[in-house]
């Protein structure tokens, strides 16, 4: 019989403390409150297709146990459920964890002193989520009401508050709160029996960081040019990528800059390596920054009880250090430090107009269909959903759709130039948080395109 919660976090910790086999734990409790609205046009009127509210609480325990083997330990990550008796769950977790086998490590014995204050939650959303959703709905309503040449198709608005408590066996208790907002707008354009659309999406931590009006306007503007398209000619191009793409690419490449990869013999970079071999363009400086205001990965103290501060991983294309957590620091005999954060890139010197003028033909990607990145090789490829081809020989700007682009960070970023303007991006696609603050655009050369 499923009943109400039978145990508290204090009871859980007390039980864990009493078990001799238990070596340590990280308990994470998250309370989620989410509101969602799905909007579309019904006979010309903006209508709510779905209106949802979600409330939940989850408790995840990362449990470390003695296995009796020298220099080894066992471990399990388990979600504890409120409807099952606590002891039953602890017993089964200990028994299962004892069957696993890890090199031994310990949580830090020093508790963080004066952890930094970070901004990770919008106060209005935290106070009144329903009111915040209503306010965002009004903004959508105004944007939809604007007269345009295009047709509004649909929008989705999701807003949530994630309230977290982390309890470690070393005595640390850390509380944090994050707000998340997702907005999308789809517009289409029809002419002479043909039609196409543009879908614009954005995640943010603070509603103040995005403009719904601008997002809807840009979706409409891009839908409007979507019927003037042609396929690209096959060849090599100078290509401008925007911050949405750069955020994905550089969050993926941090895969190569982790102590975990080094320990597991997965592809990785070492301090002193060139991040991009032979780079001569704007040399990359990449910082893992957990302190960025309203970043998707803004944290004060990470789950293993280590204070997180901005850490330069790559300085002018030279790898300085890697992201080292307590576990892999112990294995590799390296000092642990920052291993969570938003990817922050230094600005370059060019502006967008200069980039467009930088070569006889410049392909400016407005949107990829599905950008697939191989983290291990740094290669990436996608169909081109929408792009502008600036042809200075003919003085024309054509709109491109179709064909695909293939690149690699090590080859195509060798001569890369970055814009001087920097922007923030957040993403929670498929539940994985990634944050970015860096150049709004990058200019690459010799990128392979097939039409």
């Amino acid at each position: 019989m499923i009943t109400s919660p039978r145990w508290t976090l204090e009871q859980l910790k007390n039980e864990l403390r009493s078990r001799s086999e238990v070596k340590g734990w990280i308990v994470t409790q998250e309370n989620l409150h989410r509101r969602e609205r799905y909007l579309l046009l019904d006979q010309g009127k903006l209508s709510v297709d779905q209106d949802r509210e979600v409330n939940s609480q989850s408790v995840e325990v990362r449990l470390f146990v003695h296995t009796g083997k020298t220099g080894r330990q066992g471990e399990i990550s388990k979600k504890f459920v409120s409807e099952k008796p606590l002891n039953e769950q602890i017993e089964s977790s200990i028994a299962a964890a004892k069957e696993t086998d890890y090199e031994a490590w310990d949580l830090p014995s020093d508790l963080p002193k004066d952890p930094p204050e970070v901004k990770s939650c919008d106060p209005f959303m935290a106070e009144d989520l329903a009111g915040a959703l209503e306010s965002a709905t009004q903004e959508v309503s105004k944007a939809v009401a604007l007269p345009r040449k295009t047709d509004f198709n649909s929008s989705e608005l999701f807003m949530s508050i994630h309230d977290r408590e982390v309890h470690l066996s070393n005595g640390l208790t850390q509380r944090s709160k994050q707000s998340r907002m997702y907005v999308e707008a789809a517009y289409s354009y029809s002419k002479s029996g043909r039609s196409d659309e543009y879908l614009h999406t954005a995640w943010t931590i603070s509603p103040a960081d995005i403009s719904i009006e601008h997002l809807f306007q840009e979706a409409s503007d891009r839908a409007e040019i979507s019927l003037q398209t042609k396929k690209p000619n096959t060849g090599k191009y100078s290509v401008i990528l925007d911050a949405d793409v750069l955020a994905k690419l550089f969050n993926s490449t941090t895969f190569l800059l982790s102590a975990r990869n080094e320990y597991l013999d997965l592809p990785h970079k070492n301090p002193g390596d060139d991040f991009i071999p032979g780079a001569t363009g704007d040399l990359l400086t990449l910082t893992l920054d957990p302190s960025l205001d309203f970043g998707a990965v803004t944290v004060s103290v990470a789950d293993q009880g280590i204070v997180q501060k901005p850490l330069v991983l790559v300085d002018k294309n030279i790898v300085v250090t890697t992201a080292i957590d307590a576990q892999h620091g112990k294995y590799l005999k390296k000092k642990p430090g920052t291993y969570r954060g938003n990817v922050v890139l230094e600005a370059g010197a060019m502006d967008h107009a200069q980039m467009i003028q930088s070569a006889p033909k410049v392909l400016e990607i407005l949107q990829f269909s599905g950008l697939f990145i191989q983290e291990t090789t740094g290669t990436f490829s996608s169909e081109i959903r929408l792009a502008r081809l600036h042809d200075h020989a003919t003085g024309t700007v054509s709109i491109i759709k179709g064909g695909s682009l293939s690149g690699s960070i090590s080859d195509n970023f060798k001569f890369a130039r970055f814009s001087k303007n920097r922007v923030k991006r957040s993403e929670f696609d498929y539940g994985v948080a990634t944050g970015y603050f860096g150049p709004e655009y990058a200019l690459l050369t010799d990128v392979s395109v097939v039409g």
Partner: protein
């Protein structure tokens, strides 16, 4: 409409496959605590039905997932459970949901009352839009004769005298119970599998130090759900088993996931398969780069499936159509041709035997998350678009029949129209016959993602690497993308579907008649654009296409 001859042929095959009486099988039961929850949810339903014009339902889901893994340095284990109740009211305009992980009756009734109050507060906001009322469908309607009959595997589990209040449980069939193996047994098996890879490596050209990372991971999901409305009281239990093998040499990677719905029998991996993966990895280390261009291409079942899924899978999702975001709806209404006679795509959650495997396909179930029973559907019939797949609200908005495609990422997420198993119909050639039809071209077997473009009708299908073929024979040359990464097949969907030259039988490596009913469906995940991931199968036969744009 189905072609008469095709319908008859397909279902005579079906009866051949299910020679064993479906009632005799071992099936996944419903947990006792969830069984005890059913009457409480009926009480909650009473509260939700506060207005006779509303349609109310209650959905409960519990997903327990265990993952066991072994690599060269560790053995690992994770165990997660998520459960919650979704209370729903549809007022003829909007679908309102209140989702909670509370399961005590008092807490549920409190949330149900709050939901009722929210719906009442919103009354009037829909003024000026048409009312599309809905009433729960009774068992007589559910079981009435249809041009596509319910699968015998599903029918066998419905009591003969079924009524609104009758608890009807559907359990996935299995041979070897996947829930009873110990952690020790699983981890020992995974370590042994890593050892088998190491033992087979030298014969495939690898020294011990060349294999830098090996990982074997076993997944077990127990997915239980309840659906209750005025006319039905359904439950189902699915066992989702998988085995993932990742082999790496430096930055090159060969990965495969085996599995399905059923018992442990679904995750056996042969030495032959491991050898094939090792050989692929070796080939990738020495691969050339593809010169972008147009080529003849033979797609394996997994890639044929991605093509089906992205081509007229996503664009045949009725919620996308209802939002005015799919060209397929217009083309269906016009009766336009969008592919040749070989372009037939089906979607079915009722693939209870995946090709010749012993398990059900990855995207299968007995009813969807809105309580609609699983049934096969042709969504593209020899180049002509049929009505799209639906969830409740999109079927009402478009005025078309419902199908069993209302799915959500979890009880915390909203329902969309989603694909289940999407696949091309089988052809009549053998694999060798198809290979022999290639003068110059490539064979692609391993998928690397894909992306839909329902309004613009573009398509993107990612391929890990290609094997070169000349005069019907493999040359031994392997190519990767122009920049050394994945290769992308792109194009205009009708062009791609008009370029299908031939398709294989389901059992493509045999000249004998097919014994299986459904083509093979690979294990996959599907996002709605860039979020809301759900399990999905996709597949088909081997398919030969001419003039494909690869880069």
């Amino acid at each position: 409409m189905f072609g008469e001859a095709e319908t008859t042929a397909r279902f005579s095959n079906l009866s051949r496959v299910f020679q064993m009486n479906p009632t005799d099988k071992k099936r996944a039961p419903l947990s006792a605590d969830i069984k005890a929850l059913q009457p409480k949810l009926r009480d909650v339903l009473g509260t939700l039905e506060a207005n006779p014009e509303w349609y109310a339902s209650v959905y409960f889901e519990r997903k327990s997932n265990q993952t066991f893994a072994a690599n060269l340095k560790q053995t690992q284990l994770s165990d997660s459970t998520s459960s919650g109740v979704v209370m729903r009211i549809y007022d003829g305009h909007t679908l309102y949901e209140q989702a909670t992980d509370q399961t005590e009756l008092a807490a549920l009734l409190k949330e149900a009352k709050e939901l009722v109050a929210r719906v009442k507060r919103a009354a009037g906001e829909s003024t000026g839009t048409p009312m599309r009322p809905y009433q729960a469908v009774n068992w007589k309607e559910r079981l009435k004769e249809n041009e596509v009959p319910l699968d015998p595997e599903l029918l066998a589990q419905i009591p003969a005298d079924v009524r609104a209040e009758t608890p009807v449980h559907f359990g996935i069939a299995f041979e070897e119970d996947p829930t009873t193996r110990t952690t020790e047994n699983r981890l020992t098996g995974l370590k042994a599998l890593v050892g088998r890879v190491q033992a087979l490596a030298p014969a495939c050209g690898f020294a011990e130090k060349d294999l830098t990372y090996l990982m074997a991971r076993e997944g077990l999901g127990v997915e239980e759900s309840l659906f209750i409305d005025r006319e039905s009281n359904l439950s189902q239990t699915l066992y989702r088993v998988s085995l993932t093998l990742i082999l790496m040499s430096g930055a090159e990677r060969s990965a495969n996931r085996f599995g399905g719905l059923g018992g442990t029998e679904a995750i056996t991996v042969s030495d032959e398969k491991i050898t094939e993966m090792l050989k692929d990895l070796h080939a990738m280390k020495n691969a050339d780069r593809l010169k972008p261009g147009k080529y003849t291409l033979l797609l394996g079942p997994a890639l044929a499936g991605v093509l089906a899924h992205e081509a007229f899978g996503h664009s045949q999702e009725a919620d996308t159509c209802a939002r005015g975001r799919s060209k397929a709806w217009e083309l269906h209404n016009e009766g336009a041709r969008v592919g040749n006679d070989l372009a037939t795509i089906l979607n079915s959650p009722a693939v209870y035997r995946n090709a010749t495997e012993k398990s059900a396909a990855w995207g299968s179930y007995f009813f969807d998350e809105e309580g609609w029973l699983a049934r096969e559907q042709i969504i593209l019939d020899a180049g002509t678009l049929m009505p799209p797949m639906t969830n409740l609200t999109s079927a009402l908005r478009l005025g078309i029949p419902r199908s069993s495609n209302g799915k959500r990422e979890s009880w915390q997420n909203g329902v969309y129209t989603r694909q289940t198993n999407t696949y091309f119909s089988a052809g009549d050639k053998t694999y060798d016959e198809l290979l022999g039809m290639i003068d110059y071209g490539f064979v692609g077997l391993n998928a690397a993602g894909g992306m839909e473009d329902p309004k613009g009708m573009g398509i993107q299908v990612g391929v890990q690497y290609l094997k070169e073929v000349k005069n019907g024979k493999f040359t031994g040359r392997v190519v990767k993308g122009p920049a050394g990464g994945d290769i992308q097949l792109t194009g205009y969907v009708p062009d791609v579907l008009n370029s299908i030259i031939a398709k294989s039988k389901i059992e493509a490596h045999s000249e004998a008649a097919d014994t299986a009913t459904h083509p093979f469906n690979d294990c996959g995940g599907c996002g709605k654009y860039h979020k809301e991931i759900v399990y999905a199968g996709c597949g088909g036969p081997y398919m030969l296409l001419k003039d494909q744009i690869l880069g």
